[in-house]
Symmetry: C2
Subunit: 190 residues, 2 copies
């Protein structure tokens, strides 16, 4: 990926994040990237191609992959906090807004599976973790699918609401929120 192309992609992704895909015109992409408009079309097939290549770059995905959840200590509280924090630290308001900006009918079909990978990474990893904890005799049998979903929803809900409404809606600090949510989760399993 040459420097110019990368500048174009970066500009496009930031604009999509801030204004949505449809409202992001090739003209403003070019201006924001500091290149001539026709350069976009020399480097990329079309506008959609720019964004699609951006979505496929690691730097334009919140770095939420199964790997970030591997560092477990087999302690329920510490690990659940780690899971939530790993997600919430990476899924910044910027990335929340980007995934909404990408929800244009023209490209959603091609981006949905990528966007879905983030929640999937959390849910799969955490469910597997809970199952292993059960096998190790550290957890009673329970509906781990539903439990993992509840924990993830908590992380997701907070992140999304914060990104959308800021402190106008919720003035609970992230750390307090995580502690509180995990405490709830733990106690319910005792």
């Amino acid at each position: 990926m040459d420097e110019t192309s990368q500048k174009i992609i970066d500009a496009a992704m930031m604009l999509v994040r801030d204004h949505g895909y449809v409202a992001t015109t090739t003209k403003v992409i070019a201006k924001a990237a500091g290149v001539n408009e026709c350069t976009l079309f020399r480097k990329f097939k079309n506008k959609k191609d720019i964004v699609l290549q951006g979505v496929n770059q690691a730097k334009w995905r919140a770095n939420v992959t199964p790997e970030i959840f591997q560092n477990v200590q087999w302690d329920l509280r510490a690990d659940t906090e780690m899971f939530m924090r790993a997600y919430m630290d990476r899924m910044t308001p910027d990335f929340v807004n980007l995934s909404i900006g990408l929800r244009a009918p023209q490209l959603y079909e091609e981006t949905a599976s990528l966007i879905m990978k983030v929640p999937q990474a959390f849910l799969l990893s955490f469910t597997q973790y809970l199952n292993k904890m059960h096998e190790m005799g550290k957890l009673p049998k329970a509906d781990f699918d539903a439990l993992a979903l509840t924990v993830f929803s908590s992380a997701f809900g907070y992140t999304f609401l914060k990104a959308s409404f800021g402190n106008g809606l919720l003035n609970v600090e992230k750390d307090d929120y995580i502690k509180n949510s995990v405490q709830m989760f733990i106690k319910s399993l005792e």
Copy 2:
């Protein structure tokens, strides 16, 4: 509100829900409403005016107001389930998608406060409820702001994820999910 204007508003809102505000053109609104395009501008100031009037209609807001949370029995489990169900029954995928479709910079400033009223209604009502339960001696002292937020995030997260990814991501049934989440919440307060 005359019949024609209402048809126009309804068509516009459905299109915004399905394709977003920017991608919803006056041409397709007219076609979907079964009227001539110039009729839109006889009835409304401009495209934005159509959507703004739609947003202000009760039928185009999920009917989530503080009133729907009034029917409490002062039983923590029953009431928390009622809160979650009241929200989740009304906030259908259609309304989730509509609120995303409305997130266009051109009108977000004027719709954000309306969109925010839904989470606010839940959070305020539930926090007040928890405080009253505490006054009645049925609950120990706790950080009710953070607790309410966690419960709401659970409801919100499930609703949003279901609307966005359907059963591809989560095959947990709504009723199971509510029961599970509420169980978690209750136990944590014991």
